[in-house]
Symmetry: C2
Amino acid sequence: MQHATSSRDTKAEIHRAAVELFSTQGYDKTSLREIAEQVGITKASLYYHYSSKQQLLRAIVGTFLDDIFQVLRLPETLPWSPETEREVLGAYVDVIIAHRATGPTLLRDIAAVLAAFGDDLDELIAQSRRFQLWLAGPDPTAADRLRAAAAVEAVGAAMSIELDLQAGDAEIRAVLLDAATAVLARRGSPVVE
Amino acid sequence: MQHATSSRDTKAEIHRAAVELFSTQGYDKTSLREIAEQVGITKASLYYHYSSKQQLLRAIVGTFLDDIFQVLRLPETLPWSPETEREVLGAYVDVIIAHRATGPTLLRDIAAVLAAFGDDLDELIAQSRRFQLWLAGPDPTAADRLRAAAAVEAVGAAMSIELDLQAGDAEIRAVLLDAATAVLARRGSPVVE
DNA sequence: GTCTATAGGGTGATAGAC
DNA sequence: GTCTATCACCCTATAGAC
């Protein structure tokens, strides 16, 4: 029993260290030596827990992908309305916040993530496009679609904020939901050029 | 004269090959050997034209870097006020839009751009942080700083929109400026949790 | 201007002892 | 489960011949 516990702890520590280093330095620029050093083991020991660097990346990004896909598919079952919009937007914010530590890795090392997940990412882009189109509301103009894209990007700010920000998850959630809503509320407004 | 012409052609070919490879593979994953091979010369010859890999990168993203840094530095000389805020925000939107139009290959691929910034990315992040802090307004709360980050991200939507969007630069500019302003207008609002 | 050759370093990954 | 030692490979960059 003690063996299993020790094993799980080390594996979790590797996972945690990898998330931190990948996020701050990027996947490519983070070496397995660095990760091992931070955990206090050697590279060889790391390989006992994860059979390759890619496997480690898959373990990290995999859970995020599962969650985000679930949210992006929500519109498929829900007709658009102000109420469902708020519900979907809230779910999206929740996922972004929950996985904001892995966010930078995704944004900075798309190439590596693409190599690790292949076709899944193409589907993510397509799904994300449908998601934004749904958010644009019924019969959207080009400006409305742009507003929907801007609203989604605004929520993504959760991934780029600093760690020293003195705000709890609940506050971050409320502010970003409010910000996205404010952008979407401009739908239908005349565009003054 | 023939020497100079030949020289300029090779240098231009290196530049072209580098743009293509950086865009598709990212900066880190593209080796000078690959670039040299594509041009039909050796690495050593490449070093005759560009003194380092970073120099090559600077030649490619130089103008964008200069422009974005110039905008991010604007707050240093301007005290915050509603008027200067609108001016700075407008300048930011202009740079994003301008480089979206002139360098679609480079700017549309977020991964390649971020990778191409290399070590400058750290300085860009620091400058961007000061920029966002200024945008948050005087004596900002944590929520206000988050709103500023969200506003900046919203403008960034210009980079991720599809080509089939039926909207001119002027309309995109107006919509994004309006969206960012709408987010910033929420500053000071009570956060309902 | 371009080449060959090489220095000097880092990387992911494996073998085998304990 | 963790270690030491090592392999095979790739990288940036430089020196010097042509």
